[in-house]
Every structure is written in structure tokens, then in C-alpha cells.
């Protein structure tokens, strides 16, 4: 075989095998193309979603919390700008040095520094770390001025809930705080997952949290593989919280708070007799809700918790007290309605009454002499009520008490309301497994013994007495302009003349010389109040004590003194405002609580009169054009 032939043979072999090789390569490239088709067409939708998931990070935007205003639009809870200073470590260079510089401008504790360093360790270098929150204006200014020397540092503006009336309204409004686990449980609101998101804690903030909270907005952010935000793609600001208007009158509330602050521990409430709207509701001592919104310290919180005057408890709805003599209207009404006793029923009070082997005393040791029902109410004669209670029995009294709002929650829109207690034989059998004694009827008839009420219930009772209607109390006036108030309350099924007798008695208490509240009467014509005093014993007076002479209230330790109570409504001629006042361990109701009720009801009516005057006056002319007529009745 020649060299040429050999080469030709070799070349044919090469050609054949080149074809094989080319075929293999072609098949391989076809495989690649098939895979491309599979990835880019068949699976495209799935991967497109994955790519978008990669790219887009949804971040929630917390909507501004709804405002809370009083009945005239005065803001009670607002959102304030809250300045904090933040640092981005990758822009800061030497973080410790920058922090030292910042520390010269605003106080930084060692704990702060430790937290900052820890946060920086845990976060990506481009993530902002909070150095200090809640900066004052001076601190903001100090940092702003020095920003050129503080690389990586900036000022961040957030929102913080603020309560302009502070302590005066804390028990009504509550406050906001970080969502606890129990708040988050069972809720699908994505806002709750936002770090630092605040929810309502207590009061209106809690009750109307859903309305105030609004709905989460979101920002679509384009992020890269390490999570750094590249740009904002879209922003949905969400639904800001709705504005909640309360029936509260901020001025009256402020006044009431001032007035009660003079006492060690007291509570009061004013409600509209016709609508049930609460104009003021105050429990003293109180706390500053702003402190809570900012994050209260452990020690301050413990101090509040341990205070025996219970500043954290809203005594208006959660304080349960024996109503004392303020209960007597119901005993009187029950007696009149029973038909067993009429208004002219007379009883001789010698200072005590005998029942079996027991002797029941009147607060007046020497007795009141002979009294009719109005006189009995005016003098708050215990013996008279022992007498009529003994005639009608406990069930009638309890029934009347419940019709006037006692013995169960009345349903005010505040968390933490307590039911109080109206005892009757059935209750005692069930709860205590004991039979009812007639003596207990006598004690209950004057609001002692097992009887427990809240100041709220007493105010409701008074409003129902004054209006004759089953008024329900409420704090909500409107949500975002939608009114919630009504005056359409059903009449209470009692004879008007009976009710009139009771009201006549209440009028006598404050407006007839000798009445237990006469010294606290309102003497402004047209603004007079009618009321009833009560002094609730918090301890049983022993026989030994009684024989040795009852120790006067002011000589006993605070905890053992009587509660002073007063309920009232005004004006007498056309009742509009009902009020209940309790001064814990204050002593006599007529002497201690009545003046407070008087001041509050007077202030209340004065404010109304002042507003009416302003509304009727034309606005002051500032130029030569004649003032435009002001529509009557419009409040400025």
C-alpha cells in the first residue's frame, strides 16, 4: 500500500469519525436548546414568579393612627413627630468614634452603647440602627448642626402617640403600647407584625383600636440579593385610622381632674341625662399616658402598681363601693311602686329601730322625729328606710335597683368595667348557701351590706331617675363623622307621680334648708341641682365602739374612713346633666362629695352657657365690612 493510499484510508476513517463526532455535538447542542425551551417556555411562568419574589420585597407601611377628639373637636389623642437619631454603620467608618461624638451632643448610657453595638453586629452594614429615640428639639438641633462631622448619622422622624391632656384623660383614653402576644393571637392584621407597631392598651384606645388603627399600606421595594433596597417601585399609604369623636367635654374633664386632684383618691362622672353621653369621667390619682406611649420604665411602673390609691385603676367603672344612702331613692321608689307604701307614709325615727334581737341605728343618734318620704330622703333618715324596706321586702328593692342600672355591667365602651352587686335572697342562697335574713334587707335598703355599685352605675341611676328613661351611657359620639348618639331611650316602667316624689326628695336634699346637701347647693338661678348624699362604711362598727362613742372619721386611719358619695342632676327644672362623685375614704358624703358634685355641675352648666353666648354673638369685626350673621346654635 502506498503512502498516499494509506493516507487516503486514514482520511476516510477520519471523515467517518468526524461525522460521528459532529453528530454527537449536534445532539448535544440540540439537548441544550431543548433545555432552553423547557426553562424559558415551559417553566417560564413559575420562574417569573420566583424572580419577582426575589426582586420585590413588600414592606408594610403603618398608617397614621386615628385622632381622638372631644365632642367639640378638641384633640385628645394625636400623633406627634418623634425624632430619633440613627446610624448606618457602612457609612460611618469608625462607629465607636462617631458614637463618642454623638455622646457629646446627647446623653448616651453605657447600656445604649452596648445595644447599638449589638444591633450593628446583627444587622447588615447598610441597615439603619437607632442610636436614641424621643429626642428633644434641642437634641435634634444639636445633631443637625453637627451632621457634617458625623458620617452615617441622620435624624429619623417617626410618629408617637401624644395625649395633650395627659393625666386628666388617661382613664378614658387608655394609651398605646407594643402589641403583646395575646393581641397578635387570632388576628390576621399584618400591621401587628411590624416591629414597633403600637396598639391600644386600655380605654378608648383599646375599645376602638380597630377603627383607630386603620389598614396597613405597603411599599414595593426592589431589593438585591443581600437585601439592600435599590429603589421603591410603588407605595400604597394604606388607610389611615379613623377619627373617633367622644362625648367628652375636654374643658369639663380638665376642670374635673383639677377638682378631684385635691382629694387623695376620688372618682367622678358626668353624663347627659337624655343622650347618655359621658361629658366627663375622671379617676384620681391618675397616670401620664404619654409615659406609656414612650415606653415607661420598670421602676415608674412598679410605683404606679403599688400605690394604694390605685392610679392605674379606673375607679369610675372598676371601683365597687357600697352606695350608702345614694341608694335610698331606689328603696323609696320600690316602696311607692309596690303600692304598699305611699308618699305620705310617715315613720317616727327615734334614732334606731328594733328587729328581733337586733337594734338598727339611724345615722342621727337622737332621731329625726316623724318624717314623710320626702323628708326622709332630705334628711337621709335610715330608720324610715328600714321601716319601708321591712314592709316591701328585698326582692322589690333589688328589682328596682336593676331597672335603674345597678347589679350588672351597664356596658360603657371601656374595658375593665365591673358589675357591682345587688343582693337578694336567691343570690345569697346560690352564692353563699345561706338563707336571707330580714335584717339584711334593712341594711341593703340604705345601700350597705352586700350592695356594691360603681360610680358609673350611680350616674346611670341618677340619669334614669332624672329622665325617667332607660338611658345607656356611652363615650362614642361619632366615628369619622358618623354619629352614634341617640336620645331614643325607652321609658322606665314607673308611675310618673312616684318618680316625682323621689325627685322632690332629691330636690329637698340640696335646696331646702336642713337637707344633707343644702350647704353644697347651687344658688345660680336656673342651674340648681338636686342630689343625694351617701356615706359608705367600709368597716363594721362594733357594739363596743358604739357604746364608747363612734370614733370620728378624721381620727381614723385613711383606709378605715367612710367613702363619701354624692349623686346629683341639674338643672332641677329640666334635667340635663347627671353626676356621681365618690371620694374614697373621704368621710361624709354631704360634706365632702357634695361640694365636688356642685362644682362640677356648676362648671358644666357655666361652660354650656358660655358656649351658647359665644355662638349667639357675631364674630368680632376686624374691618369695616359688616359681620356676617352667624347661624344660631352653631358652636365655634
Amino acid at each position: 500500500m502506498s503512502a498516499f493510499d494509506r493516507d487516503a484510508e486514514r482520511q476516510r476513517m477520519l471523515s467517518r469519525r468526524t461525522l460521528v463526532l459532529g453528530g454527537l455535538q449536534g445532539a448535544a447542542v440540540a439537548t441544550l436548546m431543548g433545555r432552553l425551551y423547557y426553562l424559558q417556555i415551559v417553566e417560564s411562568d413559575r420562574y417569573t414568579v420566583l424572580a419577582e419574589d426575589n426582586r420585590i420585597s413588600l414592606r408594610l407601611v403603618a398608617p397614621p393612627r386615628g385622632l381622638i377628639t372631644d365632642r367639640f373637636g378638641v384633640p385628645l389623642a394625636v400623633n406627634e413627630q418623634n425624632f430619633s437619631t440613627i446610624i448606618v454603620s457602612e457609612r460611618a467608618g469608625d462607629v465607636q468614634q462617631i458614637l463618642d461624638e454623638v455622646g457629646k451632643l446627647i446623653p448616651l448610657t453605657e447600656a445604649d452603647e452596648r445595644r447599638i453595638q449589638r444591633d450593628i453586629q446583627r444587622s447588615r452594614s447598610f441597615a439603619p440602627i437607632t442610636i436614641k429615640e424621643n429626642l428633644t428639639w434641642d437634641q435634634v438641633a444639636a445633631i443637625e448642626v453637627n451632621l457634617p462631622d458625623l458620617p452615617g448619622v441622620s435624624i429619623d422622624v417617626g410618629q408617637v402617640r401624644s395625649y395633650p391632656f395627659g393625666e386628666a384623660l388617661s382613664h378614658v383614653l387608655g394609651y398605646v403600647g407594643a402589641a403583646a402576644e395575646k393581641d397578635v393571637e387570632g388576628s390576621s392584621d399584618p400591621l401587628l407584625t411590624l416591629p414597633g407597631f403600637k396598639v391600644g392598651k386600655g380605654g378608648i384606645e383599646k375599645q376602638y383600636d380597630q377603627a383607630l388603627r386603620g389598614a396597613a399600606g405597603n411599599r414595593q421595594l426592589e431589593v438585591n440579593a443581600v437585601g439592600r433596597v435599590i429603589r421603591e417601585l410603588s407605595r400604597d399609604p394604606g388607610q389611615s385610622g379613623r377619627e373617633v369623636a367622644l362625648t367628652i367635654d375636654a374643658k369639663l374633664q380638665h376642670y374635673m381632674h383639677q377638682r378631684l386632684s385635691a382629694e387623695e383618691s376620688a372618682a367622678a362622672i358626668v353624663m347627659d341625662v337624655n343622650t347618655g353621653g359621658i361629658h366627663a369621667l375622671c379617676s384620681s390619682p391618675s397616670f401620664d399616658p404619654n409615659q406609656f406611649a414612650m415606653g415607661i420604665g420598670y421602676e415608674a411602673y412598679q410605683a404606679l402598681l403599688k400605690d394604694e390609691r390605685t392610679p392605674l385603676i379606673n375607679k369610675v367603672i372598676a371601683g365597687q363601693y357600697p352606695p350608702g344612702s345614694t341608694f335610698k331613692m331606689l328603696t323609696a321608689l320600690a316602696a311607692l311602686e309596690s303600692g304598699i307604701v305611699n308618699a305620705d307614709h310617715r315613720v317616727f325615727c327615734s334614732g334606731h329601730i328594733e328587729l328581733g334581737s337586733h337594734r338598727f341605728h339611724c345615722w342621727s343618734r337622737n332621731g329625726h322625729g316623724t318624717l314623710d318620704m320626702v323628708g326622709a330622703l332630705m334628711n337621709s333618715c335610715d330608720v324610715y328606710f328600714y321601716d319601708i324596706a321591712g314592709r316591701i321586702g328585698m326582692d322589690r328593692i333589688a328589682d328596682m335597683a336593676r331597672r335603674f342600672g345597678l347589679g350588672g355591667k351597664v356596658g360603657l365602651e371601656l374595658p375593665g368595667e365591673r358589675p357591682g352587686l345587688i343582693p337578694d335572697p336567691k343570690w345569697k342562697r346560690q352564692a353563699l348557701k345561706q338563707p336571707w335574713h330580714q335584717g339584711e334587707t334593712l341594711i341593703a335598703s340604705m345601700g350597705q351590706g352586700y350592695v356594691l355599685t360603681t360610680p358609673l352605675q350611680l350616674a346611670v341611676m341618677t340619669a334614669r331617675l332624672a329622665s325617667g328613661r332607660a338611658v345607656q351611657p356611652h363615650l362614642l359620639k361619632s366615628i369619622e363623622g358618623q354619629f352614634a348618639e341617640t336620645t331614643e331611650w325607652p321609658a322606665i316602667d314607673v308611675k310618673p307621680e312616684n318618680l316625682a316624689t323621689v325627685l322632690k326628695g332629691m330636690n329637698a336634699v340640696t335646696n331646702v334648708p336642713g337637707g344633707t346637701g343644702y350647704r353644697a347647693r347651687i344658688s345660680v338661678p336656673g342651674m340648681e341641682m338636686a342630689g343625694k348624699s351617701g356615706s359608705a362604711q367600709v368597716r363594721r362598727i362594733s357594739m363596743a365602739e358604739r357604746s364608747s362613742g363612734v370614733i370620728k372619721n378624721e381620727n381614723r386611719p385613711w383606709r378605715e374612713r367612710d367613702h363619701a358619695l354624692f349623686v346629683a342632676f341639674a338643672p332641677v327644672q329640666a334635667p340635663k346633666y347627671a353626676c356621681a362623685v365618690i371620694v374614697e375614704h373621704g368621710g361624709g358624703g354631704g360634706a365632702v362629695a357634695a361640694p365636688i358634685a356642685r362644682d362640677i355641675l356648676l362648671e358644666c352648666q357655666m361652660l354650656e352657657a358660655a358656649r351658647a353666648t359665644v355662638a349667639q354673638q357675631p364674630p368680632p369685626a376686624t374691618d369695616t365690612t359688616p359681620p356676617a350673621p352667624n347661624p344660631a346654635g352653631e358652636t365655634p
Partner: protein, 383 residues
């Protein structure tokens, strides 16, 4: 112009040689390289720096080198084959001894102005060496096993050195390209069957003793991508997402989210085709594959028209090399085969790979220009 049938192209003048250069091929190479520039421009978020500009410079140098190599007589290259092979082998030893460590592997020698990757150059010189060896072999020779010992050593030495770096991708390419050379030279089928059988037996053994932990990890991740979704598997997952989300027509130039938001690893080097697929979709990626395959087709045509075995083997060997680059790279980033570090020449950012491929193209041209030269079996013919 008619060629001298006697085939002695030494007689060709400079201008005649210039005319013989397959300019359409040069044009094609430039087009592919320009696609690469565009992708590097995109990889840098629409900036010519740092990658596209340097790649252009390298391509310019490579283009000149390609033409220069193409003009030099193929017999000169044949004569220099073994010395070149020896030199690159020495460089490989040098890398293993003194090379810079990058990503856990010693791969290049830092010459100051360029970081030389001898393993890339070896892809060319090994093909040259085998072509030269088999050029002198008749079919009877290739049928005898002792005759195959020398070429096996020629292959084995660089493969061992590259594996030691360690660089599994390049060693596999060297083995596969060499296998193709053996195959083209007429080595019997049953011998391949034997070797493949031996490899199948060797795999579990090398798994145990030869592979590095990271290489085992890669293979394990390939077999079960969910086992390591944030590690090696993450890259492939993100790469597949980029492919898939590109869809039919892609997201548009500079609009690839996976690449521009850094979900894509090594987007300027091994994973650059992923970026192309994301931004230009199936239409773009298939078009690109077709374009690239035209380069391969040129290789086959040049081999087919060559009248000497050295040229034929060299052209086919270089073509196989180019194919292996393409296939391994693209199959890897599409999750068809395990991740091995193989760039896509002319597209991926990288100095030596670009230059090595341009050198290969230069040799292809030299084969084409000197396709009719006369070469003796053993020697160099009349030069």
C-alpha cells in the same frame, strides 16, 4: 486565484496569504465577541468599566495574535509543537508550586501585567501535541496498544497537574478533547469501551480518594439541589430562575433583575450566558447558540478541506475544544451537569481563556491558509 496543486504554500506571498484568511470567520468571531462586550457592559450595570473595556482590549490583542498566527506556516507550528507543549507543561508545574491561590485553587501565575492561566493554554497545546503525534501514525500504528502509551502520557501529565490545582472542569475538558483526538485518529472502538468501563469503575474510587470536598459537594448538590439551597445549589437555582424568567423574548437589555440585583453569581464570568438568556429570552439564547455553532461549523469545514492529517486533527481538536467550552458551560448553568468552572469563550470575562481561544482560532486559520502544504509523515516536509 488558483492554488499550486503541488501544495507548497511556502511559495505563497504575504498578500496571497492575507487573501486566504477566511475573513467571514474573522467577522463571525468579532460578532460573537461583540455580544460578549454587550453582556459585560450589562453585567456592570451599563458601564463599560471594569469588564467590557478590558475585554475589548484583550480581544484586540487576541485578534492581532490570531491573524499573526494564521499567517505563519503550519509547518512552523508543527515543528514548534513539542517545545510549546513542554513549555506549558513547565508553566503548569510552576502554577502548582508557586501559583496564586484563587477560590481555593491555584490556577494562575501572576506575571504582573497579566495573570496567566497555563491550564487554558494547555487546552490548545495538548491538541497540538496529539495532532502532531497522530499525524505520524498510520492506522496500523493506532491499532497497536504500545503505540498509544506515549499519547496517553502526553495527556496524563497535564491532566494530573491541572487536577492538582485543583481544577476539575479544565481536566475534564483536557480528557474529553484528547479522547476525541484518539477517536479521530482511528483508535479502535473497543478500546474506548474498555476505557469508559474503567472510568465507571474508577468513579467510586476517585470519589473516595481523588476529589476535593468542594468537588464532592458540587456533585452532591447537583444530584440533589435542595440539599444545599443557600450554598452551591443557590447559584444553580438562581441561574435557572434567571433563564426561566427570561421567557420567550427576555426582559430587555440591561433589564435583567436576577443579574443586576446580584442574585446571579459570577455573572461576568461563568454565568454570563444566564444573563444573556434572562435579558434576551429564548429567542436571544437560541440565536446565540446558533451563532456560536457557526464557529464550530467553520472548524469542521476547515478540517474537511485540509490535505494533511496534522491540520485536520488540529482543526477538529480545536473545534472539539470550543464545543466543550460551550456545552459544559451552558449545560452547567442550566443545571444539566454539575457545576464545574468553565467559561464561555469570547463572552465570559477572562484574559487567558480569551487569548487561548484566539490562539486556537489563529491556528485554525493557519490550517486553512496552509491547507495544501505538503508534509511528510514523520518530518516536516520541505520547508
Amino acid at each position: 486565484m488558483t492554488l499550486d496543486v503541488s501544495g507548497d504554500s511556502a511559495a505563497l506571498s504575504f498578500t496571497e496569504k492575507l487573501a486566504q484568511i477566511p475573513w467571514s470567520f474573522v467577522f463571525l468571531v468579532t460578532i460573537v465577541a461583540c455580544v460578549g462586550f454587550a453582556m459585560l457592559y450589562s453585567a456592570a450595570n451599563g458601564q463599560i468599566d471594569p469588564w467590557a473595556s478590558r475585554q475589548m482590549l484583550r480581544f484586540g490583542v487576541g485578534l492581532a495574535l490570531m491573524l499573526f498566527i494564521g499567517m505563519i506556516d503550519i509547518r512552523v507550528w508543527m515543528k514548534m509543537t513539542y517545545p510549546l507543549y513542554g513549555l506549558v507543561l513547565v508553566l503548569l508545574v510552576g502554577v502548582d508550586l508557586f501559583g496564586s491561590v484563587g477560590k481555593g485553587a491555584q490556577r494562575w501565575i501572576d506575571l504582573g501585567f497579566v495573570q496567566l492561566q497555563p491550564s487554558e493554554i494547555m487546552k490548545v497545546t495538548l491538541v497540538m501535541a496529539l495532532a502532531r503525534y497522530f499525524h505520524g501514525a498510520s492506522l496500523e500504528d493506532t491499532g497497536r496498544i504500545p503505540y498509544l502509551i506515549v499519547p496517553l502520557l502526553i495527556v496524563g501529565a497535564p491532566v494530573a497537574l491541572v487536577l492538582a490545582q485543583p481544577n476539575l472542569g479544565t481536566s475534564l475538558m483536557l480528557i474529553m478533547a484528547s479522547g476525541a483526538m484518539f477517536f479521530l485518529s482511528g483508535v479502535r472502538w473497543w478500546k474506548f469501551a474498555l476505557v469508559i468501563g474503567a472510568i465507571l469503575i474508577a468513579i467510586p474510587l476517585s470519589w473516595q480518594f481523588l476529589l476535593h470536598d468542594y468537588q464532592r459537594d458540587r456533585v452532591e448538590t447537583f444530584l440533589d439541589p435542595d440539599s444545599d439551597p443557600l450554598g452551591t445549589g443557590y447559584h444553580i437555582t438562581q441561574s435557572k430562575i434567571a433563564f426561566g424568567s427570561g421567557g420567550l423574548t427576555g426582559k430587555g437589555f440591561l433589564q435583567g433583575t436576577q443579574s443586576h440585583l446580584n442574585f446571579l453569581p459570577e455573572k461576568q464570568t461563568d454565568f454570563i450566558f444566564t444573563m444573556l438568556a434572562e435579558e434576551f429570552g429564548l429567542v436571544g439564547s437560541i440565536s446565540f447558540l446558533v451563532l456560536y455553532c457557526l464557529l464550530l461549523l467553520f472548524g469542521f469545514v476547515i478540517a474537511g478541506r485540509c490535505r494533511h492529517q496534522y491540520g485536520r486533527l488540529l482543526a477538529l481538536g480545536l473545534t472539539v475544544n470550543l464545543f466543550l467550552y460551550l456545552f459544559i458551560n451552558v449545560a452547567m448553568i442550566m443545571g444539566l451537569i454539575p457545576v464545574v468552572g468553565v467559561p464561555l469563550p469570547l463572552i465570559s470575562y477572562g484574559g487567558t481563556a480569551t487569548l487561548a481561544v484566539m490562539v486556537g482560532f489563529g491556528l485554525l486559520m493557519s490550517v486553512h491558509v496552509h491547507r495544501d502544504v505538503r508534509m511528510s509523515r514523520r518530518g516536516l516536509g520541505d520547508l
